[in-house]
């Protein structure tokens, strides 16, 4: 059958299993929006800003494991997606971004709302396309989905000029190309299995790759078989249940004291789908001293990039676990686990205000389910969430790790909420929230069951913390001094506003917030000087962990 480019796009999206798209209409996507209207089966979430749409598609993908889709018009619509695309790229999130553009004849003439979005997004996409031939549209879309969701996942952008959307060509439906990760040859793991069997003090580090490859069950099995402690990078939280006694929590700059101490004592470190980012490894040169480093990663370029591995396997982490598990015998490491569990005694010495954020985050868990998605923005509240909220299941923490995008939370929480179809939590800060609070209207329009906990300390807490520690308490431009009344703001958007002003409010207010319908904004009035601790200063080693401020 003959279809227009816009109709082909809709057919291809549906072919790929897309049921929800996030976007914002405009001049050069009018035909696409007309096709969405005529088709009537795709759920379209209209955001307040294209950046919100990109973050929402990202949050949707993180929460569901499916490829997120966002649509924006040419020019400013397209450039507004860029931060969202870059965020997804840094965290390997499968995303297909569709932009309109001026007609092929008008490309390169500085036409109205024309921008070279393919050029702009080249360094922040896995791949991108400008479709200049209608006959190649369907195959391009199919290829884009395959690239986004295979191997190390990531965003792909398709720029579709306006005339391609209206031109017609023959369309033949096709099933999506299945992605099957390459199996791992057992020979590649024999030596590693020997090393693991002999190791006295092994430590497993779970990264985002464990979630991307759905390796949680096998990671758990591996930890139990090895009797090894497990810690996680920010992207890996949820891959291993926080409540399990072998779990030590976050590792890295704001990782737990237990993870740091265990790391220092470990003789063998097994990095599972993680890339030794500077926020994890700190002093890269000293990181591996006296240890055997084993790295599993699907991306060859990550192996030996930041830290030199003694042994490595380049493959899908879950495929590696599948082969490795039968090669290992049950190993008893009672002494090691006993030593490690002693490291877990840790006091929350870093809070001196009357309403410490961690008490809210600890209480939060009694109102959520194990599979409730908890999105964050970026800053102190994000680290506190990572430290104190127990993530039990994969895809429950929705957070911008690599790019550290303030303003990510609102869009991402909307996407996660739509994707999971369940009550969703956003933990944000007053700095991050002000960046994209406009998306509150999106949550209200769709009556999304969203509980937003705003950690309101009247400052840019994380930057202030660095100014306290490294810049002689010169608080340059970090005291916000906003006069925003968050409850009134919530009401104005059509949401519900609440306040937690002291510790005794925590439970009753959370109870009300979780019982309410639609989006609820809870203004949590925390102290200005609470710190995220422990902390390992940038470039320092695990020995240099600061657990208390003098």
């Amino acid at each position: 059958m003959k279809l227009s480019g816009a109709d082909i796009l809709i057919q291809c999206l549906k072919e790929q299993g897309t049921d929800t798209v996030f976007g914002y209409p405009g001049g050069c996507v009018l035909d696409i929006y007309d096709a969405i209207y005529r088709d009537g089966t795709l759920k379209h979430i209209l955001t307040a800003h294209e950046q919100g749409a990109a973050h929402a598609a990202d949050g949707y993908a993180r929460a569901t494991g499916k490829t997120g889709v966002c649509i924006a018009t040419s020019g400013p619509g397209a450039t507004n997606l860029v931060t969202g695309i870059a965020t997804a790229y840094m965290d390997s999130v499968p995303l297909v971004a569709i932009t309109g553009n001026v007609t092929v004849a008008n490309l390169g003439r500085d036409s109205f709302q024309e921008v070279d979005i393919a050029g702009i997004t080249m360094p922040v996409t896995k791949h991108n396309y400008i479709v200049k031939d209608i006959n190649k549209l369907a195959s391009t879309i199919r290829e884009a989905f395959y690239i986004a969701s295979s191997g190390r996942k990531g965003p792909v952008l398709i720029d579709i000029p306006k005339n391609i959307q209206t031109e017609q060509c023959e369309f033949t439906p096709a099933a999506p190309a299945p992605y099957l990760p390459k199996p791992v040859a057992p020979e590649k793991l024999k030596e590693i299995a020997d090393i693991l069997a002999k190791s006295k003090r092994p430590l497993l580090i779970a990264g985002g790759g464990c979630i991307g490859s759905n390796a949680s069950d096998n990671l758990f099995a591996l930890a139990k078989k090895m009797n090894a402690p497990v810690c996680a990078t920010l992207m890996g939280l949820g891959a291993y249940p926080a409540s399990d006694e072998q779990f030590l929590g976050l590792i890295g700059m704001h990782g737990t004291d237990a993870a740091a101490k265990t790391f220092r004592r470990a003789d063998t470190v097994i990095a599972c789908g993680m890339r030794f980012s500077d926020r994890v490894a700190g002093n890269r040169a000293a990181f591996a001293e006296g240890k055997t480093i084993i790295q599993f990663d699907i991306d060859a370029a990550e192996i030996d990039k930041n830290v030199k591995a003694d042994h490595s396997v380049m493959a899908d982490v879950n495929e590696i676990f599948k082969v490795l598990l039968p090669l290992l015998g049950q190993t008893d490491r009672k002494d090691w686990l006993k030593e490690v569990s002693a490291y877990k005694e840790y006091e929350n010495a870093n809070f001196d205000s009357s309403l410490p954020a961690y008490k809210i985050l600890r209480a939060l868990r009694s109102f959520t389910d194990a599979d409730t998605r908890v999105a964050t923005d970026v800053g102190q509240h994000q680290m506190w969430t990572a430290q104190y909220y127990p993530f039990e299941q994969p895809r429950t923490l929705i957070s911008s790790g690599g790019l550290g995008t303030m303003g990510f939370g609102m869009g991402a929480a909307i996407g996660a909420c739509v994707g999971s179809g369940k009550k969703t939590v956003l933990v944000t800060g007053d700095g991050s929230f002000h960046m994209n609070l406009n998306e509150l209207c999106t949550a209200v329009s769709h009556e999304l069951p969203l509980v937003i906990l705003l950690m309101d300390n009247n400052c840019l807490g994380m930057v202030r913390q660095w100014q306290t520690l490294f810049y002689g308490k010169r608080y340059s431009q970090t005291t916000l001094d906003r006069k925003t009344d968050y409850c009134k703001l919530a009401e104005a958007f059509g949401a519900t506003g609440m306040t937690i002003a002291s510790e005794k409010d925590i439970r009753p207010v959370l109870k009300k917030a979780f019982a309410a319908k639609g989006p609820v904004l809870v203004d949590c009035k925390i102290g200005i000087d609470d710190k995220v601790l422990p902390m390992i200063a940038p470039g320092k080693s695990f020995e240099d962990i600061i657990t208390k401020l003098g």
């Binding site: 896995k126 991306d299 370029a301 030996d304």
Partner: protein, 172 residues
């Protein structure tokens, strides 16, 4: 710092060169030359990249390059088993009293005169880059008005062809 030669077959499409050069810039790779040309297969272009760096940079460059969808095959040229060539065009000041000396030099290097004017001549020389460097040094005193070098290209000797290699990922 060592020099490494990387050869690659890439999709013959617009934007591919930008992708590759953009990657080099973003990852701060120090590229001495990059030579792109068409091949016997219309769908593919061939690139020869000369990198100056260490083993780590070489590994990162090839692995990052290999991740680009448009890059089909990559190989690191084996110094002892490849043919390297570069072409040089150089316009030298050549007044009548200096011309015979220049012609003598050209004979030694087996260069060609491809243009002649009352005051200048253009010489063409093909060879390995260090031969070109040597030639340039010798004619420099006569006054080089302008010059163009193509950058190095390379082919491995014998029956091995880049296109027949297994994917780079499989070799690591």
């Amino acid at each position: 710092m060592k020099k490494y030669t990387i050869t690659a077959l890439v999709a013959n499409k617009s934007g591919v060169l930008t992708r590759i050069s953009g990657l080099f810039a973003r990852r701060a790779f120090n590229i001495e030359s990059l030579c792109a040309c068409t091949t016997e297969n219309q769908a593919l272009s061939r690139m020869t990249i000369v990198l100056s760096g260490d083993e780590y940079t070489l590994a990162q460059l090839t692995k990052q390059l290999d991740k680009l969808i448009d890059v089909k095959k990559i190989a690191i040229a084996d110094e002892n088993d490849s043919v390297y060539r570069e072409l040089l065009l150089v316009k030298v000041s050549a007044p009548a009293n200096k011309r015979s000396e220049l012609i003598e030099i050209k004979e030694v290097y087996k260069a060609k005169i491809v243009d002649l004017s009352p005051e200048t001549l253009i010489l063409e020389l093909t060879g390995e880059p260090n031969k070109l460097d040597g030639f340039i040094k010798v004619i420099e005193p006569y006054g080089i008005l302008e010059m163009a070098r193509t950058g190095m290209t390379a082919l491995s000797r014998g029956e091995k062809c880049l296109n027949d290699l297994v994917d780079y990922n499989e070799c690591i």
